[in-house]
């Protein structure tokens, strides 16, 4: 019963935050609504006994991504964003959102629902072991991708400085 109430609370946070992100005209508020939404998702992770994922969500999204977004926003002026709320890419965005919706709906429809949540997922040690043995190559590919992004950002920043 308690977990059901908490689940609806976390879900409301996630959904309400998401609506806030697209609804508000103030970009800084949108970034903070995004944080609320992501924390709601962390709450849902917690309710399905994925403590590690929940904490990663808090650390990475709350700690790193939102702060970098806010940092970038604070370096710009708010009035610069006046016209950025509407642009011509909305049909593509709508298509992508609809596609994602169908993927998730399909996955949910096929999953075997269970009445009660129970601990099924691995603990931290099993997670780490499988990440570095069974899934070592995808893991390394992801880190190379991040490295490429990092180097790319530095190159772009330096090229901008020269002019």
């Amino acid at each position: 019963m308690t977990s059901l109430v908490l689940f609806y609370l976390a879900g409301a946070l996630a959904l309400g935050g998401a609506v806030g992100v697209v609804g508000t005209r103030n970009v800084v508020h949108a970034a903070l609504f995004l944080l609320v939404s992501l924390m709601g998702v962390a709450g849902i992770f917690l309710l399905v006994f994925a403590e590690f994922l929940a904490l990663v969500q808090v650390l990475l999204y709350g700690g790193a991504i939102i702060i970098v977004v806010l940092f970038a926003l604070m370096l710009t002026r708010l009035q610069d964003f006046g016209g950025s709320m509407e642009n011509r890419q909305w049909p593509i965005a709508a298509l992508a959102a609809l596609g994602l919706f169908f993927v998730i709906a399909f996955a949910l429809a096929r999953s075997r629902g269970s009445e009660e949540t129970e601990r099924l997922g691995p603990g931290v040690q099993e997670l780490g072991r499988s990440l570095f043995t069974q899934w070592a190559i995808p893991f390394e590919v992801a880190s190379v991708l991040l490295l490429v992004a990092l180097i790319g950002a530095i190159v772009i920043a330096r090229a901008g400085g020269r002019e």
């Binding site: 903070l32 403590e51 904490l55 808090v58 650390l59 700690g63 940092f71 603990g123 931290v124």
Partner: protein, 375 residues
């Protein structure tokens, strides 16, 4: 969950809040006394014997002070920011044990929980900076974001090196594993990194760049007054104490002490005594070192602490993987700490040794490099 459980949780949290506020009041008094002694003054002496009632008088003054809100401020963010800063600094205490069983909830992921939630406070700083509609506040908020995420990396790397030793993130397990050898002996480098980065993370002198009075006049907190400012103040002191307690738990052996009988009360006392000693060291820093410049702050973080934290991590991994004797880690870690410390000392005291011509030559070379780089 029965009514009894809920009552127990409420009781535990009340004890926690009361304890933390008492600690903060004692810390403000201690800081002023310690700084006074370091500067050959007496510190507060007027209110109560040796100024003991000064914190109470200060708290009362702050609470009755008028709470001003700037007309152009983003009201919601302005009101929320102190809470967003305060809540994480309080929430992490749910899982910090002060003796074997003296803890609200001992979690298996306790250390990770502390790291993850303490990061959220940065958002509050940025909210305060942006919401105040003040240029100094925005500058301070930007500085806070840059400084705090930079120093988060060495802290996390030092914590990872610690959790490799007992192979657990449970703080009770970590302390129990130090019963024979505290990790300060195994990883002096880790202790140095964690303490320095921790002081930077709570923004105390010499790392108080983001609210430096002489530069940004209080930074994100410039427009705050009264009770709201008091909340920021409270969380700063709670965070200082948290860092001190974490140093004690992760490196100084927590509640275990050789040649002492095991008991919960004695252990609790030990942790508190050790934590106050670490806090004293942090106050001592404040009385000794001048504030860094912001570029110096960033280079200390990125060019010194982060590489050293990776070295610390690598050393610990070697030690664990090849199952070396414990003194191998101690000796190598100590050697690197001493070498890095001596190198930094030589570098930072260079202006005092150099002649006027040498200093001038270096300044010219620096200027030329800057000009050619820009052109």
């Amino acid at each position: 969950m029965t009514a009894r459980d809920i009552a127990l949780i409420i009781l535990q949290l009340t004890v926690l809040v009361t304890g933390l506020i008492t600690v903060v009041l004692s810390l403000t008094w201690l800081e002023r006394k310690a700084l006074g002694r370091l500067q050959r003054r007496m510190g507060p002496m007027v209110v109560g014997p040796h100024g003991l009632l000064q914190p109470a008088a200060d708290a009362l003054k702050l609470l009755v002070k008028e709470d001003l809100v700037p007309a152009l401020a983003d009201k919601l963010l302005f009101w929320l920011a102190p809470m967003v800063v305060f809540v994480p600094s309080f929430v992490v205490w749910v899982t910090i044990p002060l003796a074997g069983e003296v803890v609200v909830r001992n979690m298996d992921l306790g250390l990770f929980f502390i790291v993850a939630f303490s990061v959220l406070a940065i958002v509050g700083m940025v909210m305060a900076g942006w919401g105040s509609a003040n240029k100094y506040a925005i500058l301070g908020g930007l500085r806070a974001a840059a400084q705090l995420i930079s120093y988060e990396i060495p802290i996390i790397m030092a914590v990872i090196a610690v959790i490799m030793l007992p192979q657990s993130m449970n703080l009770v397990t970590i302390v129990d594993d130090q019963r024979t050898i505290p990790y300060a002996v195994l990883q002096p480098l880790g202790l140095a990194i964690f303490l320095l980065a921790g002081v930077a993370e709570v923004g105390r002198t010499p790392f108080d760049i983001y609210f430096a009075e002489s530069e940004v006049m209080g930074g994100p907190f410039i427009e705050y007054s009264g009770a709201h400012w008091a909340v920021f103040f409270l969380s700063e002191y709670i965070n200082t104490f948290t860092i001190a307690v974490l140093v004690v738990l992760l490196f100084l052996g927590g509640w275990s002490f050789p040649l002492m009988p095991e008991s919960a009360w004695l252990g609790f006392l030990w942790v508190v005594v050790k934590a106050y000693l670490v806090v004293f060291v942090i106050f001592w820093f404040r009385g000794t070192f001048p504030r860094l410049r912001i570029d110096q702050l960033m280079s200390v973080g990125w060019k010194i602490l982060i590489p050293l934290s990776f070295v610390n991590f690598g050393l610990t991994a070697f030690y664990k993987f090849y199952e070396l004797p414990w003194w191998a880690l101690t000796v190598s870690s100590l050697a690197i700490t001493v070498a890095a410390g001596y190198g930094l000392y030589r570098r930072w005291t260079w202006p005092a040794r150099a002649t006027a011509e040498e200093r001038l030559a270096r300044a010219r070379a620096y200027r030329r490099a800057e000009v050619t780089d820009a052109g």
